[in-house]
Symmetry: C2
Amino acid sequence: MPVTLQDIAQELNVSIATVSRALRGMPGVAESTRKLVLKAAQERGYYPNLTAQQLQRQRTNTIGFIIPTFGPRFSDPFFSELLAGIGNAAAEAEFDLLVSTVAPGKDELPGYQHLVAGRRVDGLLVVRTRRQDQRIAYLLAEEFPFVAFGRTDQELNFPYVDVDGEQGLFQVMTHLIEQGHQRIAFINAPEELMFAQYRLAGYRQALAAHGLPYDDDLVRLGGLAETDGYQAGWELFCLGEQMPTAVCTSNDLMALGVMRAARECGLQVGGDIAIAGFDDIPLAQMAHPPLTSVHQPIYQIGRLICEKLLCLLRGEELTEPQTLLLPELVVRESTDYRV
Amino acid sequence: MPVTLQDIAQELNVSIATVSRALRGMPGVAESTRKLVLKAAQERGYYPNLTAQQLQRQRTNTIGFIIPTFGPRFSDPFFSELLAGIGNAAAEAEFDLLVSTVAPGKDELPGYQHLVAGRRVDGLLVVRTRRQDQRIAYLLAEEFPFVAFGRTDQELNFPYVDVDGEQGLFQVMTHLIEQGHQRIAFINAPEELMFAQYRLAGYRQALAAHGLPYDDDLVRLGGLAETDGYQAGWELFCLGEQMPTAVCTSNDLMALGVMRAARECGLQVGGDIAIAGFDDIPLAQMAHPPLTSVHQPIYQIGRLICEKLLCLLRGEELTEPQTLLLPELVVRESTDYRV
DNA sequence: CTTGACAACGCAAACGTTTACGTATATAAT
DNA sequence: ATTATATACGTAAACGTTTGCGTTGTCAAG
C-alpha cells in the first residue's frame, strides 16, 4: 500500500497539515520537525498522490492532445516529430501529456468534451485545423485554454502557430517557373483542411504573378497519404499532350507517391518531370532522388504551441498570441535539371 | 463554473447521493426522481469531475506509455503506428492514454516512478526492452501492472508481446543465401536493445546452418537512424575485395541509409548489391527500389499489448501472458536480381 | 394492530491532499 | 506585570465523487 501523509503524521505524532507543509517547504514548521518529516518520508518512500493533489488544487498539470487520423491507419511521420516537441516541452514544465487518438470516421468532438467537461486537462492543443472548425468554436465557447497549430476560416480570435503555406507554395512555384516550367500541377490536401486553402492560394498567386493560366485539370484533390499522390500522379501522367512538366503537392508523402508513379511511367524524376513536396519530413532528403520540399520545423512547432499553452496556463498574457512562421524552400534533386 | 452533483441536488431538493445514484443507474431511486435528475443534469450540462471520480474509485482509467527516444529527435515512423494501435484500443475501453517522452540522455526511471508512485495511471506499457531492463525490474518489484513489447535477458516472468526476431533474420538470411550470396553483412541496433540480440542470433544461426563463416568485419553496430545505416553502408562499400554482396539491417530506416550509401557508391541496389531491412514500415514499399523487409504488424502489436494490459486491469487472468509472433518476410526488388 | 419487508432516500465517511483559521507557547516590548 | 508579536503547530473545511448504513414511509401478511 502506498504511504500517505496520514501514515507519516501518525509515525511522528504530528498533524497531516504539518507534514504537508514540511514536505513542500512552506513556512510555519520548525526546522527540527521538518528534518524529521523529510527523513520519514524518505524512508517510507512517500510520493504524493497526484490525483488527490489535482482535486484539491483544481488543476491537473496535464495538457491534452488529440491526434486526428486520416485513413485507416496513420503512419504520418509528421506526428512523431510534433509529439516529441510537445512532449519534451511539457516534460520540462513538469506537465503530463494526455493523448487521445480518434478512430477514423468517428466524430472527434466527444473526445474534446470528455477532456474539457471532465476537467481532465488544464489546456488543449489543437492540430490540423479546418475551415469551419467546430473544435475551436467549442473551446472558445467554453473559454477553455488552448493553442492551435493552424488557422481557420472562421472569424475567431485565438492563439495559434502556423506556417505561411501561401508563401511556401509561392516559393516552390517560383522556383519551378524559374526552371522554365509552364505546366505545373498541384495535388492538394482535402479542402476542408485549412492549410490546403492557403497552399492553393499560393499556387494560384504564383501562377498569376507569372502570367500563367490556371488549369483545372492540373489541380487534384488528394487525401494525405502516399497512395493518394501515387494515384493522382498516374492520372496526371496519362494526360498525354496535356501532361504537366512539374508537380507540386501539399505534403511530402503525396510527393513520394507521385515519384513512384513517375518511375512506373518511365519518367525520370528531376529530369523528365520535376516533383516538389511540402513539410520536409526527414524522409524527403532520403528519397531517391532527394525531394525538393518546403521545410516546416515540426519539432519546434510542437515545442512552440506547447510553450504558448503553458504560458496561458500560468495566467500570463501572450506576447505573441499568433505566430506565423516563414517557411523555407529546400531545393533538392527532384526539381533540379542537372540530374 | 462547471456544474456538480451538489448543484443538481440543491435544485431538486434531494441529496447528493440520490443524484449520484440516479445518474449512474443504481438501484434505490424512484423512477420519477431519476427522470427529474436526468432532466436537470441534461439541462445544466452536468459531466462528472473525472479527477474526483478517480480519487474516490482509486482508479484512474488511464494507462501510461513512455516513448523512448534515441538521438536528438525521433522521427521513427514506428511509433506513430504503435501509438495509433494503443490509442485506439484504449479508447474503445474508455481508457485515457498518458504519454511521456523522455528527452534523450535523460534517465527514464524517474518518469516511471512519477506515474507509478503518483498513482497517475493504472498500468503501463513498456516498449523497446533492453537486456538488463531496470524499468521491468522496477515494475515487477512494485507489483505494478504492465505489459511489454519485447523480452529481456533477465530471468523474469512478465507479460509481453514480441516478434520472433531470430526467426525473422533467419528468414532474410535464408532468402539471401538462396539468391547465391556468400558475403552478407549485418548492421545491428545498439546491443543493449533486446531485439538486437535476437536478430544477431538469427543472423549467426543462418550462417551456421548454411556452412558460411562468421566474419566480424561484416557485422556493424549502428544506432537506429537512417544516418547510421548510411555511415555503416559507406564503411562496408569501401572494403574493396572484402565487400559484401548483400546487407541486412536491424530496421528499415538503416536499410534506407544503406541504400543511399550504395547509390552514392555507384552500386545498383537489387543488382550490384542486395539490401534488406526489418520492420516493414510503410516506407519500405515506397522506397526505390522497394525494400525487402521483415514485416511486423506494428499497429496490431500496439492493440495487443494494450488489450492485454486492459485484461490485467480488469483483474482477469491472461490466457496467453506471453505472445511470440512469427514475422513474415516480404521480398521486394531490393534483394531481387531480376532488376 | 403489530410486525416485517421493502423501497426511497439522506447522512456521513472516505479517497489524499491543501490551506484558512484558531490556539498554545515562547519571546520581546511596554 | 501586561500586552504585543512571532513561531509552531493542530483543526477542520474544502475539492467532487462514491457508498455503507441508517432512517422514514408504505403496504401487505400475520
